[in-house]
Symmetry: D2
Subunit: 112 residues, 4 copies
């Protein structure tokens, strides 16, 4: 099936198994966002080193949390478009299992 | 109209109005949770009336927010299982539109 | 008892029962907000009864959560202005204990 | 300057520059937590590079958000113990201004 899919993928990139986690087309965008978040984590260390004002540090922490939430909402959307809808098209039960798994991730995001 | 729809539903369960928003099977459970949340809102008014300790009021507000989050995660799951997967089975583009709409709701939950 | 406390309050405003939980001056405003939130909880029950669209229900749940967060941030501010600062003026250790208690409430809010 | 300040600090610990933003005593602990968070940001990049499963990436994002929240709650506590209580002891109006500023930071955390 992977063979077939790879073959079909030449015609239709949506079916390319190298895309089955859904986020590949946006891979470079995710990496860019995550590198920026890594930079924010380093910026926070510098602020603490320089003993900057707590409230300014907290403002940066909020900005970083927002950036992380934005990455996760984007990841979740691609996951749902690819894995969840893909599973749903193949099999109703598989679709529901993927939904249950995605919902657990949403519940963790809402609480985190 | 319910008649007609019920009739159509015999042919296509997706069109059955008793299921089209997905949450009907759990309707009584949602109502019970929401009545409890309404009771929590009344309990908070009583606490403020009686000038109870702020921190105890805040603890109740957190419990109420948690109860609301739990309702919304449950609603979202049923919505995804019914509307989103149903749309996806019918038509890929429709599935993606439903995913985009559900994701906006998740983004609002994560921020709220 | 209110008599006694009012009497003591003449000597020490911190003991004045009209101020000791800090939120009394805004009591009517809190009650108004909480009645509106109670109304939102009833509105949600109506939406579920009428089987309205899940996403619209979720939008209302987000609005209600926002309203609750807004009440709690306001409550926390008054609590800090009255109880926490009041305790701090009286005694450093008492101030720190009140801060620790308020911070636990913040941690619950952030997670809820 | 540190000498001078340390000297003054012997008279009034509030004036000690090694404490004036309140978090210095925990500086090394914050740096350790922030380096771990920076490592989590790099780990996420690796997961995206290796095209790991979206849900696993989301789980890591939630863990990282939790770690950030924990840093901010800790920072806020120290800020309140030092800057807010310190200002409150010096002057009631100054205390209220510090509370207002801290509450805005809490509101951003709750929403972020």
């Amino acid at each position: 099936m992977v063979q077939d899919a790879a073959h079909t993928a030449a015609l239709d990139p949506e079916l390319d198994p190298d895309h089955h986690h859904g986020y590949l087309q946006a891979k470079e965008d995710y990496l860019k966002r995550l590198r920026r978040i890594e930079g924010q984590a380093r910026g926070l260390q510098r602020m603490v080193e320089e003993e900057q004002y707590c409230i300014d540090i907290l403002t940066q922490v909020s900005a970083m949390t927002k950036a992380l939430h934005s990455v996760s909402v984007r990841l979740l959307e691609e996951h749902m478009n690819h894995c969840v809808l893909g599973a749903a098209r193949a099999d109703e039960q598989a679709g529901r299992e993927k939904v249950a798994e995605a919902i657990e991730a949403v519940a963790r995001l809402v609480r985190s």
